[in-house]
Symmetry: C2
Subunit: 415 residues, 2 copies
Amino acid sequence: MRNVINAVCISCGAEYEAGDHTYTCPVCGGVLEINYDYDYIKSVLTKEKLAERRDPTLWRYMELLPIEEGSELSPLRVGGSPLYRAERLGKILGLRQLYIKDDGLNPTSSLKDRASAVAVVRARKAGIGVAACSSTGNAASSLAGNAAALGLASFIFVPERAPAGKLTQLLIFGATVISVKGNYEDTFKLSAAAIEKYGWYNRNAAVNPYLSEGKKTVSFEIAEQLGFRVPDYVAVSVGDGCTIAGVWKGFKDLYAVGFIDKLPRLISVQAAGCCPVNRAFETGNPLEPMEENTIADSIAVGVPRNGAKALQAIRESGGITVNVSDEEILDTMGLLGASSGVFGEPAGVTGTAGLRKAVERALIPPDALVVSLVTGNGLKDVSAARQAAAARPPIYIPADMGLLIEEFERRNIRP
Amino acid sequence: MRNVINAVCISCGAEYEAGDHTYTCPVCGGVLEINYDYDYIKSVLTKEKLAERRDPTLWRYMELLPIEEGSELSPLRVGGSPLYRAERLGKILGLRQLYIKDDGLNPTSSLKDRASAVAVVRARKAGIGVAACSSTGNAASSLAGNAAALGLASFIFVPERAPAGKLTQLLIFGATVISVKGNYEDTFKLSAAAIEKYGWYNRNAAVNPYLSEGKKTVSFEIAEQLGFRVPDYVAVSVGDGCTIAGVWKGFKDLYAVGFIDKLPRLISVQAAGCCPVNRAFETGNPLEPMEENTIADSIAVGVPRNGAKALQAIRESGGITVNVSDEEILDTMGLLGASSGVFGEPAGVTGTAGLRKAVERALIPPDALVVSLVTGNGLKDVSAARQAAAARPPIYIPADMGLLIEEFERRNIRP
């Protein structure tokens, strides 16, 4: 990879060759980060060159990705998700320039496809025929789907609480699914042991530094879709920490190659019932495990393995942390859907729920340019959506116009 | 609309102004079709002009759409869905040039978004603030989502059997949902009465001729994505008949403006438990109602209101009809997912199931250029997917490596 210099430990600064076997620092155990030769990249990539490309997927940013020359690319349409100007929602929230990035429209319906696409391409290039991970759901289905599309086998470890929709998706993609009696941490440990034993490609966002490299493409798209205007704030839901780290890396990359001239501030939003990253940021204490007590299962991560990267991203960006209750998350699902036609899963709209709260608390000026990232499709967790919609149940009636009119009157509906 | 001449009854040939109040022929009750001025369109749209456009949505084909000048367009990213070369699946099926068009990646996760986008734009332009329809699910959620995005209210009539995922999506989009005790026909009739009484915009594909005009854009995209090579066959699942009619109209439009020099043959695939269109085609008898007896709820339409248009499309194209069992549909869900990373709902993969059967019966030569249209996302109906995945259940174990190894051995899994 002409564009990649090496992999650097974010804890102790030790440097390693960027390969597929050293994922965490052999010296201190820290997470690695991929380090690019931005001078070289500047010499081969310009905004104008980018603008000419027809490929809408994340591969349009090839010069900024850790992909070996001659790799077979994942054929799914990963990335290229729409950025919507959300005027109605903006009015409700009190923001004049609000945009929604709907990453639930990725092939397996979450942002995680960006990471998995990079993972399977690297696995294939390294000659590894099986990819594996532990996941509360979206990383898993994205790995299974992207592996299937590229002809790789996948072994997926899920905690027993994973919603049925997500499990089913894995099975349809032909994955071998191991449902582990325990929490995310137990699941992660078993997956790590099996990956070690069998030599599978390791797609655990916890340790694999290439995954946030895939995720960062969401920031490339946001910037490009805004004509390289930089948002003042980007609201992101945070679980393991890999996504917010990727979002930050994306903007830093663009800054390093001179495509943008400032950086956004990140709004790190966690569920109040599981907010170890935000707690560590707010208290200044080290990360401590927390219970996983929230409806937003995709971000219910009590021991965030990418917590250090996430904290670094929030700090460097001059970011804000906000915690939201499950009620606020569910309420935001309906708000986003009814105002914008975007249906996000609970973790998918947690960023928007936090944004709403941040505006209410006057942490964000009303004229700020704000992007709220929706990370997963609401169809992924229909039972949660049903709770969100419980306040407005369907009208159940026989096929009779008279009864319909009666029901409208009784419910004060003006048709 | 400079590009539209009028609306013509497909049964008696009577001609009407293309407006928003006459949807079926006042003379004979036939369904209308929008009639374009292709000479004018040729003078304003060329392949080269099209190639320069950056808008990936269906609005890139504006010159071929029934949209009034100055209309506010639906902001969702409708259309622009990926066309995948499906080599692995092609090998399994015995086809050398197979493509999958994944329309489940539309904003509300089905092809119906194309029709609803056109509907809400016309409603808004006509000054109507409420849109309504009856639907087994996808038309409904697409209308609710597109209406929400454009700021319209929606009233949706669904038969009681509609899957939970689809109902929930409607409620999240803020629709008023009326769940009707009865079948699709009962639901349709009640919606028609309410639409008449309240003056709502009528998005019933049964009668609104603009909907297949939205759906036809899927064919525009297929042709454009293939570099204007024309598929020899296009496989489509058929329920009401509106989608296959739209697919056919799209190719005919492109032929009329000289963008393509031949037309594809359509493969009309229905569920064996509800196949009134295919039965009428095969027997030559008039359309007769059938029971709605299939897991593929989106195409379980016993009285297809667009049956005449569908039959015309199959006939004109020199098409083929194939009926498939629910087992074949479920089996194809897993096959498509594991070979291609595409997760379709039962009705969404019915076209592919029928294609498979047509190849087995040697109705299609192995070197034909074939496109199979996947019309809806598998997350829409997780319970069906669970049935499809039942043969490969997860492995449930505690977090213990020894137990995992035992399970692999017991199940003959080679990790």
